[in-house]
């Protein structure tokens, strides 16, 4: 549920962090960061944002302040490590605020990690007595007009709905309001801060208007529109410094386990130890989450337990090579869904998935990961590789216990040139090549929120697409993986899936400090189609999915994140494999035959921070 919220936190965290934003670092490409620390070290400028994140950039990229005014390294750097987000993180973050019909609607702030570091207004109260209270509010409104493949259902909205597929147009709107209060020592130093307490409440309203019945609800009497309200606690934690460089944070808290959110990215109930050693060149987290259930439509936390525990241990080696941060991680997820069936808020069975043999089952998965991000001159590279191991007690599609052995690899290269950044991305998630064997080799994450390969401006990344005729999604929204889950969060990880290969390129053009334009395009392929063929009872599904094209703009009329408008148009031009699933060719019979139709998503998002 809290894709959205997690991102919101990042924003809020930036805005409401306890450090005073009395200095700014301005890069030559126009980006401007509120910082609490700057120093020169080995030809680079190391700085820490008001969020407590530390980055470094080559000295020649710094526009302001003058290099000479910066101290040389020596002074011990502060910083409670959040997950580092090195400079160079290229594309805007994915904002998959949508799902097809009953799909959940996780969403996230459409802000680049760096953009997020720009300061927003905040209201500090009660300074001076040693404790400060910071209050921040965010209003975010999203509207999305989209066309997705939708079945016409058991009782269609319109007569003459003889064809399997129905009217796929949908209008989705979702205003969300967030309010954060943070209490912490008012003195900016020493750091990490001795303690802090923070609460963020969220209220959301989601509205979906669809062209077909059975999209907004399992009950056709609900018709074609639904409106749902949700309220939740997206943050509620206390934090304390245990030793000089070791802190603990307990409660509902945001956490991203790697640079790009490829495996676990959420704001959820947990206990986290974090710290640093060796002058902060090594930062680490030990985090344990006992996940809360998410609201089906809002993606916000509920107050019920999900019966899933997640453990993450990771370490970030800053300047492992000059300008390059290396990360090693270990994830473990234990999804104990074998106690009872779970239906989502719209009445659909999501645990176990209504697919194959829908029997209650647990899934235990472990991930070994290596990731890194670095910037060298005009070039930035981000990469990640994961190996998933574990066991699915009873996979519904395979109808047996399976051993998990799957992998993911991703690489993104960015070249900055003047005001433009050019990006090339590739991602491979292994697929399952034989449903009938005892091994599950399709990669799935725990709860990913990938900021990769086009992000917000990628149709594939944004959209949730139902696997027609079944009770699962081909892919969940805010995901890159065609994991055949029933639901992004409420569903269980599924390692019997087709896997995917994504090749994508894009460009980001900073036209002015207020306006950035983004374009993105690429092609997608399934790795293996055996799981699809089994589930759909259809032979010879082609591997190609389609061309994923998108473009849009990020506009900050005030020159900061106080007001931000993101708009874009994305689409999928399907090719053979997608058409094998979503079209038919029974031309001789009147009313039969689903023609190939491009899928599209036009969105506009406005967010206001105060």
């Amino acid at each position: 549920m809290s894709l959205l919220l997690r991102a919101a936190f990042l924003l809020l965290g930036m805005a409401a962090a306890s450090g005073a934003a009395d200095q700014f670092l301005v890069l030559k490409d126009g980006r401007r960061f509120p910082v609490t620390l700057m120093e020169r070290r080995g030809g680079r400028v190391v700085f820490e944002t008001t969020r407590g994140e530390r980055f470094s950039v080559p000295e020649d990229q710094v526009s302001e302040p003058p290099l000479a005014s910066l101290p040389l390294a020596g002074r011990p750097a502060p910083a409670p490590p959040a997950t580092p987000r090195p400079v160079g993180s290229p594309a805007p973050r994915a904002d998959p605020a949508s799902g097809p019909g009953f799909v959940p609607l996780p969403r996230r702030w459409a802000i680049d990690a760096l953009d997020r570091a720009r300061v927003g207004p905040k209201h500090a109260v009660g300074r001076g007595d040693g404790v400060s209270l910071a209050l921040t509010g965010v209003v975010d409104a999203l509207a999305e007009l989209r066309r997705l493949p939708v079945g016409s259902g058991v009782s269609s909205a319109n007569p003459d709905s003889l064809e399997f597929f129905g009217e796929g147009a949908q209008l989705f709107t979702s205003p969300v309001a967030l309010a954060t209060a943070e209490l912490a020592p008012s003195a900016p130093a020493p750091r990490p801060r001795a303690w802090a307490a923070r609460v963020t409440g969220a209220a959301s309203m989601t509205m979906l208007r669809a062209g077909e019945n059975n999209v907004v609800s399992v009950d056709v009497r609900e018709g074609r529109a639904r409106r749902r309200q949700d309220a939740s606690l997206e943050e509620a934690y206390g934090e304390a410094r245990l030793f000089d460089h070791l802190s603990v944070r307990a409660g509902i808290q945001p956490f991203v386990s790697d640079f790009r959110g490829l495996v676990f990215s959420d704001s959820n109930l947990g206990l986290r130890l974090f710290g640093s050693v060796h002058g902060h060149d090594l930062q680490y987290n030990l985090a344990f989450f006992d996940l809360l259930e998410k609201g089906t439509n809002s993606g916000l936390n509920t107050f019920e337990t999900r019966d899933q525990q997640v453990f993450v241990a990771n370490a970030f080696f800053r300047d492992f090579r000059p300008g390059y941060t290396l990360s090693l991680s270990l994830h473990r997820s234990r999804d104990e869904a074998s106690k009872e069936q779970h239906y989502d808020d719209n009445g659909y069975l999501v645990r176990p998935a209504k697919a194959g043999v829908p029997r209650l089952h647990d899934v235990t998965s472990n991930y070994l990961g290596v990731a890194g991000e670095g910037t060298w001159g005009r070039w930035s590279v981000s990469h990640a590789a994961y190996l998933a191991l574990g066991a699915d007690q009873f996979n519904p599609i395979a109808a047996r216990r399976l051993e998990i052995l799957a992998g993911l690899g991703a690489v993104e290269v960015v070249h900055a040139r003047g005001n433009a950044r050019y990006r090339v991305s590739g991602l491979f998630a292994s697929g399952d090549n034989d449903v009938a064997d005892h091994r599950a080799t399709g990669f799935d994450a725990i709860y990913e929120l990938p900021s990769f390969a086009g992000g917000t401006f990628s149709f594939w990344a944004r959209s949730g697409i139902v696997l027609a005729q079944t009770g699962v999604l081909l892919k969940a929204p805010a995901s890159l993986l065609p994991a055949l889950r029933s639901h992004k969060f409420e569903g269980q990880a599924n390692f019997v899936n087709p896997g995917v290969l994504i090749l994508n390129a894009g460009a980001e053009l900073v036209l002015s400090p207020k306006l950035t334009v983004v374009v993105s395009g690429g092609h997608l392929w399934f790795h293996q189609t055996d799981a699809l063929e089994e589930l759909l009872f259809q032979p010879s599904i082609d591997h190609s999915i389609g061309f994923d094209l998108g473009g849009g703009a990020v506009y900050r009329p005030l020159g900061n994140d106080g007001l931000m408008v993101v708009g874009g148009l994305t689409g999928l031009i399907p090719t053979l494999g997608f058409n094998d699933i979503y079209t038919s060719g029974c031309d001789g019979v009147p009313g039969c035959g689903a023609k190939e139709r491009g899928l599209a998503n036009a969105f506009l998002q406005v967010q206001l921070v105060f």
Binding site: V154, S156, P159, V218, R221, A355, S584, G588, C592
Partner: protein
């Protein structure tokens, strides 16, 4: 017969594959030994591929009656009354024969289904146990191939059975029969066909079928319908009994015999030469059948292995009065579909006809005429729409709602034996058959001689804007049946403004036909 069985190079025809007397006896013996081992004295029946009884054996101590679940036991002679079939105590051998026949009639060389499979696809939710999902694609199927049918197809004493303990028998990939075991004294339906129960009846039937087991590649478990894997049997086939072990003591109600000459194919279908009806010429009937038959060749089957094989269906064309004008059958189409195809065609023709409401009212079934739905000839209804209206929850599958207009709703636990329009039409004839009180048509209504169907595949035919009859298709998947039927109907479509998908009942739109997602091969 023995000479034929030895001809290994002979074509895989039903005759060449037919069970011998000794083989039938061996099936009975294996099933009886397993039942004895499990402590369940039972009645064991073996049928041939067309559902004809080849052996009925009652073990000593086996219950002589099988009580339809849902009500306290009562004699069949009393008829249905207000309780439908629930509580009727029918002869156990009839239950065993229906189980055996279900295994045989539902299966083909492309799919092997058991009574467990049947139970899985006919309930008010699909898959059973998942609330709020619409009913199974074969909802209403069990009340077909009834003993009172006027169709020269297969007939079973209870119709098709959803009670575990019925298995198909195969030889070299071809259906040669079925075995059914009835020993618990109850006739019901497995309402949770995917729980891990191991009913002794099913174990005994599996033991009986050991030497004639369905090929693993085509068993229901390898068939996914709407993304759901169908069940075949719980547990593994029991270990074989010792070859020396004698058959447990009991009575041969029908001593084992070898398979009978085919009653249905091809001679039986000759009962339906293509002919003219009141509104359709023989050439038009032939054209309709031809259009449907051609569509089968390009349409992928929904329940058949290997993938990409075309649908095998039975196609019946009836006139507006329900008389069969012509019949087509793909080779290897499942035999239950002969009766079901006629049922579907008749269902579409009857409910689309001008007199349906009046006839139902006169038959004492006026209570099903509600929600303002017109049955006066002004609306073209398909069998899919009739089944939609017959769901125990309305809209279908939404647990807790009122029953559909043609249903009187679920008792505490849904069962196909509970009153409702489909059952009420055939109930007395069925009870009379069980009481051996003579045969008659299944329903008192002319034109519905074998009952009505509630699953897709029946579409009315119109000529010059007037109802001319209907086509019924039954075989490898209900959506496929709709597609083949719609292909047959081309040139004889109902006027669009009269199709029942213009109507809503309680705000819920009726379906007309629904095509498969990706039907082409």
């Amino acid at each position: 017969m023995a000479a034929l069985a030895g001809a290994a190079l002979a074509p895989a025809s039903a005759v060449a594959q037919a069970l011998s007397e000794a083989e039938v006896g061996a099936v009975v013996r294996e099933a009886a030994l397993e039942a004895a081992r499990l402590g369940l004295p039972a009645t064991i029946a073996v049928v041939d591929g067309e559902g004809n009884a080849l052996a009925v054996f009652r073990m000593d101590g086996a219950p002589v009656a099988s009580v339809v679940e849902g009500q306290p036991a009562r004699p069949v002679a009393g008829g249905c009354g207000e309780q439908g079939l629930e509580g009727l105590a029918l002869p156990a051998e009839l239950a065993a024969l229906s189980k055996a026949g279900t295994g045989a009639l539902l299966s083909s060389t492309g799919h092997a289904f058991s009574t467990r499979t049947a139970a899985f696809v006919v309930q008010q939710n699909f898959p059973p146990g998942v609330e709020l999902t619409p009913g199974g694609a074969f909802f209403g199927l069990l009340l077909s191939s009834l003993p009172c049918t006027d169709v020269p197809g297969a007939a079973l004493p209870l119709g098709l059975s959803g009670d575990p303990g019925g298995q198909p028998l195969y030889r070299r990939g071809v259906v040669v029969g079925g075995v059914g075991v009835e020993g618990d004294g109850r006739t019901g339906i497995d309402v949770d066909p995917v729980d891990a129960d191991l009913p002794p009846e099913e174990q005994a039937a599996l033991a009986g079928a050991r030497a004639f087991a369905a090929p693993a590649a085509i068993r229901a478990e390898s068939v996914l319908l709407d993304g759901i894997r169908l069940p075949f049997a719980n547990g593994e086939t029991p270990a074989p009994a010792s070859p020396e072990a004698p058959r447990p003591p009991g009575v041969d109600l029908l001593a084992p015999r070898g398979a009978l000459p085919s009653r249905l194919l091809p001679a039986g279908l000759a009962a339906y030469p293509t002919r003219a009806g009141a509104a359709l010429s023989a050439a038009e009937v032939a054209r309709i059948l031809d259009q449907a038959a051609r569509q089968t060749l390009t349409t992928s089957a929904a329940i058949r292995r290997p993938l990409r094989t075309f649908v095998r269906v039975n196609v019946a064309v009836v006139d507006a009065g329900g008389d069969v004008l012509g019949f087509f059958r793909n080779e290897d189409a499942p035999l239950f579909g002969i009766d079901a195809a006629v049922q579907k065609a008749r269902t579409a023709a009857f409910f689309s006809g001008p007199g349906a409401a009046a006839v139902l009212g006169a038959a004492g079934l006026g209570r099903y005429l509600r929600d303002g739905l017109p049955f006066d000839g002004s609306v073209a209804y398909t069998s899919r729409a009739v089944g939609f209206l017959a769901q125990p929850f309305f809209p279908p599958g939404i647990v807790g709602t009122e029953p559909g207009p043609f249903s009187v709703g679920p008792p505490p636990e849904w069962s196909p034996f509970h009153p409702g329009l489909q059952l009420d039409l055939v109930c007395e004839a069925l009870a009379a058959s069980w009481a051996r009180a003579g045969a008659g048509a299944c329903t008192p209504i002319p034109g519905l001689g074998n009952g009505i169907a509630l699953h897709a595949g029946g579409v009315p035919l119109y000529k010059d804007g007037r109802l001319a009859g209907a086509i019924g298709v039954s075989g490898d998947g209900p959506d496929q049946d709709d597609l083949v039927a719609s292909a047959g109907v081309v040139g004889f479509e109902a006027p669009p403004e009269r199709r029942c998908d213009r109507l809503t009942a309680r705000g819920v739109r009726l379906p007309y036909v629904k095509f498969p997602r990706h039907p082409e091969r």
